[in-house]
């Protein structure tokens, strides 16, 4: 997996507010011109004041993922984005930006990987708290599961890694083929487990290593 260009592919998604840009989650450039993929809950069906954010240090092209990301450097640039297509059942969304950017990413499916296969993730954990550090993670597929949404069962994988708010919409790549196999949605929480408790802004129910990612195959209909 070539990590050197991830900073030019994976970005935080944000919304302009009276207090500045509030970061919502992660998105990445699709294989069609001017399109960005993210999770639909990241944008909450609302494209008012929606933006794709670029760290200024990345935007200038001076640095890649292997340089030290200065956490005190809060300078950003942003590009206005609008919701082009949205699929709430599979929790996927395609944003359109007025730029001629695209990747040659190969969109695969969770069918293409097996339990115990290595996968890589790139995203912006804790970006909802204002931290903007592009972070690379590796893990293995712990299980292949079907999750029901709107009475429809959809293919997901369990990633054996703890993720944090801000990582929704992160791409999950097969380490062996570099193809896109899934998109991070969020951690498991029991349906009737209570939850909703917040300790210092953290829900203890989400502190575990069971992360759900939806199969990338559902993107094909949207792109």
């Amino acid at each position: 997996m070539d990590t050197s260009s991830l900073n030019r592919i994976v970005f935080p998604i944000g919304r302009i507010t009276p207090n500045g840009v509030s970061l919502l989650g992660t998105g990445f450039i699709a294989n069609k011109e001017g399109l960005i993929v993210t999770a639909s809950h990241v944008v909450n069906n609302d494209d008012n004041n929606l933006v794709v954010v670029l760290k200024e240090s990345f935007a200038n092209g001076h640095s890649g993922l292997n340089v030290y990301q200065d956490t005190s450097d809060l300078r950003i640039q942003y590009i206005k984005a609008s919701i082009l297509r949205i699929d709430p059942i599979h929790d996927l969304c395609i944003l359109r930006i007025p730029n001629e950017v695209r990747t040659n990413i190969q969109i695969a499916s969770t069918d293409a990987i097996s339990v115990a296969d290595d996968v890589c993730i790139a995203g912006y954990p804790h970006c909802n708290m204002g931290r903007m550090v592009l972070t690379y993670q590796e893990t293995i597929v712990g299980a292949k599961i079907l999750i029901e949404s709107a009475s429809i069962k959809t293919k997901h994988i369990v990633l054996n890694i703890q993720t944090r708010p801000g990582q929704s919409g992160s791409p999950v790549y097969s380490k062996s083929t570099s193809s896109l196999v899934a998109i991070i949605i969020g951690p498991y929480v029991p349906t009737n487990g209570g939850g909703g408790i917040s300790l210092g802004g953290i829900d203890p129910m989400t502190l575990h290593q069971t992360t759900h990612a939806v199969s990338a195959e559902y993107l094909s209909a949207l792109l």
Partner: protein, 152 residues
Amino acid sequence: MTIDDFFCSSPEVLLSGLEDYQQALVNELLAATGGNYEKAADLWLGATPAQTVGFGGDHSHNKIYRDKIVDEIEKFVCGSDDTYQRDRVKILENASATQQYVVAVLSTAIGGNLGIAGAFLAPLIVLLIISFGKISINAWCEMRKKREESAG
């Protein structure tokens, strides 16, 4: 196609006003609900992967209910206030308006008013209009008016 033609169209014609991916998703919802258009609309509105908490997004929006969308459709097609006057004219002035165009204008206008993306609203609007039955706009608006009067 006028708004009235659109309103009275068959489910097949109305669904063809959606993008292909939306039609496919709506067909899955209809299969899951035994062809119940209102239930399918509710599933679309409440869709979220089970046993998963989304790790992103803002949650400042209030939940949108089906009745609220129906109220906005009523404002649009019945012209009970001026909110959508300009959008109604847009459809009237386009002699070659297709069902895709009508769906796009309806969903963009109502979405703009509610702060919801038109792409999310379009399937809901189509499902709800189908659920009203093949009825003329005048008859439907009259029915809504009577219902509101009887509700006080």
